[in-house]
Amino acid sequence: MHIADGVLPLSVTLGGYLAAGLVAALKVRKVRQEELPKLAVVTSAFFVAGLIHIPLGPTSVHLLLPGLAGVLLGSSAFLGIGLGLVLQSLLLQFGGLTVVGANTIMMGLPALACGWIFHRFKKTGRWRQMLLGGLMGGLGVVLAALGLALLLVSGGEDFWGVAQIALLAHLPVIIIEGLITAMTVGFLARVKPELLLTPHHFRSESPHA
């Protein structure tokens, strides 16, 4: 879900940029600077994953994947999501240019939270990781939807109704994202557990066959 231009008050859009910039600056310090290109390349994969739409009854939903981003990217997830949203705005007009900051906060903070929880509690079991991944997939969307509602409400009481409906509309998305994230994490745990091992893939060379 992306907010378009013109919905949020100016103060919130500018505040969003400020907050996103601050968090990003903090996170950039945690990644070695010359390894940021790797993050950029992985982000494009998330962008492509976001283009997939899953059929849901008569319509379909696009994947948001804040939970999965957190699981796979760890504390770099915020940067990746910000970058992805910039690209979506530039290329596809998903989310306006003036609200990229707010959108990044809305999606990025849940990703960070999910990433932290996942890596704190994942341990080693495949099923455990899968379950936890699924929970994080759902939680990511819940948090993002709450963020969306909060942002909308900042526009005044006129937007209460929209916020409520937006929250409701996310209910099926929560379930689908949860299930798909669980499946993806389960698949990775089996096929390439290294990807779930550490949130910092941007440190060491991974072995090649």
Binding site: H2, T13, Q93, L97, G186
Partner: protein, 305 residues
């Protein structure tokens, strides 16, 4: 209940309303057509990311200094989104239209952006009139006698204003991005103080997006030729899960290779930068004029209250 008046909007607003509803309808029908045209078209739609830099022509947008262009258009966008009145939002939309024509942007590009916004706007148009709390002085249209569906025109006005603003900004994206190669635009951004790394990362992501998109498309075909049909069963979600998993495995592997390739060619933390142009007076003047126009709109907006 405040005064329940049936339609006393000025005629031009009603006309605009009809135009917008038509646009929304067109977008919806487009979406439906894609849905019903069957699997193949759906697949095509999934994996198509439109290229930037579609406009090859020459216009003053093409020769405008990129820094001035960014400041003027982005600044204008922020001014536009702070408008409160429908008429002025339409004024901004008109400015965007003029810019679009002046920059000789292909119609299809503009349409793509509009349809992306249209879904959101259509949603607001449907929701807001019925959910906006009723204030004294609001015009209400009571559609049924028992008042269970009250159509608040203030909500419609609000939704239309937002829609107009969103479209105005969306349309400006094309003159902003489509009239110079992306690296030049991003370099302009970095000369305005945005960290260089940001632009480089956007460029890299943009490059590999197409690579992964192709990869994902081939994988989707691979699934289809073995009988995979889109539907939301649990077993299908499992397939989507493995599909995503494969996509990420391949992307992480490629990431390592790309980074090696960069190192192998002497990368150590910095990208070479594109050519810079010197600023001319006209560039600056145009930017100032553009921002002035935006400021005038905002001033008029505030004075109307």
């Amino acid at each position: 209940m405040p005064d329940a008046v049936s339609s006393s909007l000025p005629l031009w607003q009603i006309l605009l309303l009809i135009v917008f509803l038509l646009l929304a309808l067109a977008a919806a029908s487009q979406a439906l057509r894609c849905l019903f045209r069957g699997q193949s078209s759906e697949e095509d739609r999934d994996w198509s990311v439109p290229p930037l830099e579609a406009s090859k022509g020459r216009s003053f947008f093409h020769s405008w200094d990129v820094r001035c262009k960014i400041i003027a258009l982005v600044g204008f966008s922020f001014l536009v989104v702070s408008l409160d009145h429908l008429s002025l939002a339409f004024g901004a939309l008109t400015v965007s239209m003029v810019a679009l024509i002046a920059a000789r942007i292909p119609f299809s590009r503009a349409l793509m952006r509009l349809t992306a916004v249209a879904a959101f706007v259509a949603l607001l148009l449907v929701i807001m009139p019925v959910t906006v709390p009723v204030h004294p002085g609001d015009r209400l249209v009571v559609l049924t006698e028992k008042q269970w569906l009250v159509f608040n025109l203030r909500g419609l006005d609000l939704a239309l204003t937002i829609g107009a603003k969103a479209m105005a900004v969306a349309l400006l994206m094309e003159p902003l991005l489509g009239t110079a190669p992306l690296p030049i635009t991003l370099h302009g951004l970095s000369r305005l103080g945005v960290p260089k790394l940001f632009g480089q990362m956007v460029l890299l992501s943009h490059r590999y997006l197409y690579v992964f998109q192709e990869e994902a498309g081939r994988m989707a075909t691979g699934m289809r030729v073995r009988g995979f049909q889109r539907s939301s069963g649990l077993s299908n979600l499992r397939v989507f899960g493995s599909f995503l998993g494969m996509l990420f495995i391949r992307s992480f592997e490629r990431t390592e290779r790309v980074f090696s390739a960069m190192q192998a060619r002497g990368y150590h933390g910095a990208f070479p930068e594109p050519e810079t142009k010197t600023l001319s007076c006209i560039d600056v003047l145009l930017a100032v004029l553009w921002l002035l126009a935006g400021t005038c709109l905002v001033l008029a907006d505030r004075l109307m209250q």
